[in-house]
């Protein structure tokens, strides 16, 4: 309803921008209107936004960073390079990398099946993919523990092993690759594939030379997001991971432990290290994304 009428009005008022700006000079509308109508944002609105973001996001992170250096650079370095801290960071990166690779392979495969295959119950399976996003992480942990934990009904006990971590992280990161590859795969122009096939290329060659290059940006971005998510994950590993230092303790668990044993500076320092790793991941992803865009623009 609204959409229809507004489009009609919009069409009738093509010259509106000019009129509005001329009008605005005469009777200075209040801030929000100017932000809404004149294509500008008032200082007040901007101030509110900046203040809000600072209070909620920036100040806590600033306090964290300052605390992490309260014993100076050497204190920070010592906290991050303490053997158990390093081991926790290493476990986190290693397990997250394995999970990202797993997602890249299986996620692409699932996306392929969901787009190119037809079978009974496909819509249900498609909906199921989003479940890990909707499920609270602690529920994910306990769900996996009920099957792969002690007294496992199938005799597979993965708790307190790195396999347990991998299963938990694979669970919560499942949607990333699937959901970023799926739409690209739907859009893919299948003529090229058919042309290649008629020229006698094998399926493997077609996949490698035609399909994969198209999907690559989506796969990389999905895998990268899965990695970034796995790096900071806490809730889903807290019950199944076992929290064994040097073995299955991940960085977030180490940080929590340092708070519990009253070593806030260590906690803050490792937090900053963890933040740096996820920022680096996201920056690299953004770099890839913008390079891909440039290439696309050049091509067109």
């Amino acid at each position: 309803m609204t959409l229809d009428t507004t489009t009609a009005k919009g069409a009738a008022n093509r010259a509106a921008p000019v009129a509005a700006s001329g009008d605005g000079a005469k009777r200075r509308p209040p801030p929000l209107l100017r932000s809404a109508s004149a294509g500008r944002v008032s200082g007040l609105t901007l101030g509110v936004v900046v203040l809000w973001l600072s209070l909620i996001v920036l100040l806590p992170l600033a306090a964290l960073t300052v605390t992490s250096f309260s014993d100076g650079w050497s204190g920070f370095w010592a906290a991050v390079t303490a053997p158990v801290a390093l081991a926790a960071l290493w476990t986190t990166i290693l397990v997250s990398a394995v999970v990202a690779v797993l997602n890249v392979v299986v996620g692409t495969l699932i996306a392929w099946v969901l787009v190119r295959d037809e079978f009974w119950g496909k819509r249900f399976v498609d909906a199921l993919i989003d479940l890990p996003f909707a499920l609270p992480t602690i529920v994910a942990s306990i769900v996996l523990l009920s099957l792969y934990g002690p007294n496992s009904p199938i005799g597979v006990e993965l708790n307190a092993t790195r396999w347990g971590l991998i299963v938990a992280l694979a669970f919560v990161t499942l949607p990333f690759v699937v959901r970023s590859v799926q739409p690209v795969l739907i859009e893919v122009d299948r003529d090229v594939e058919q042309a290649a096939a008629s020229l006698g290329a094998s399926n493997w060659t077609i996949f490698r030379r035609v399909v994969l290059p198209t999907l690559a940006p989506a796969i990389i971005s999905g895998g990268g997001l899965a990695f970034a998510r796995a790096i900071g994950e806490y809730g889903s590993v807290v019950l199944i991971g076992g929290n064994i230092p040097r073995e299955t303790q991940v960085a977030s668990q180490y940080i929590q432990q340092q708070i519990e044993i009253d070593r806030p500076v260590n906690a803050a320092a490792v937090s900053v290290a963890l933040l740096a790793i996820s920022f680096a991941t996201l920056l690299i992803l953004r770099f890839f994304a913008s390079r891909g865009q440039e290439r696309e623009e050049k091509a067109t």
Binding site: L46, L131, V238, P264
Partner: protein, 294 residues
Amino acid sequence: MKLSTPSRIALRTIALLYLTVLLAVPIVTILWRTFEPGLATFWASIRTPAAISAFNLSLLIVAITVPINVVFGVVTALALVRGRFPGRRLLSGIVDLPFAVSPIVVGVSLIMLWGVHGWFGGLANLGIQVIFGLPGMVIATIFVTLPFVVREVEPVLHEIGTEQEQAAATLGASRWQTFARITLPAIRWGLTYGIVLTVARALGEFGAVIMVSAGFPGVSQTLTLLVHSRYMDDHNVHGAYSAATLLMFLAIVTLLLMTVLDRKRPAAQSAALPATIAPAPTPDPAEDTPRSAA
């Protein structure tokens, strides 16, 4: 690329097997373990005073978080889409920050800021208990859900442009009329989607909240904390399963709403992945001018 039937079926089997082992079987197991002792036992264990107040606390946090996020989220989205000011990209990056921060790190950061030894520790002397109190849990939840409304509303605002609002202004509409009659109806589905995501995350947040909660069952325990404390502190495995199942039902309702709403959103936005999950670089409003002018 045409696959032979056997290889197509092979791929399908691998995909379904993976999903079965990872998703379906664990969920069936927990449902079975929850309801095995009978529906009445399940019902009793989610109707204990501690469980009910955990439920109410979770809802209270949602009820505080959502309006705050809606107001500030819409204002932030307006500023990001309509504003042309230096540092806009930086601001946009800050909105995405909560996605990159581990929940535990959120908790630690809040302790460093609001805790008694933190920057704002003086508040405790005035009798305002932030950390280990409800304010801390709300602030933690706002932190982790901050991007959702902004990121879901932003593309819609971008899509609709400003013509209609300008037209309304020309016709003498007040700012609130313009906002209520033009802007709000246009962004409502994006906004609703953002709210659903916010609610889901707020109900499910664990890591950030556990760091700042005092852990009193019945007072400062949300549903997720109840699951953890029943499992860990009470040695009450079935109780933990029951509370988890309750949360799972809430998650499934959210999922259904997401699916329904996804169809309501403008086609351009309705990619399979919500904008919030795969944040795209915010387009520059300058690039947008030709489109709205066209």
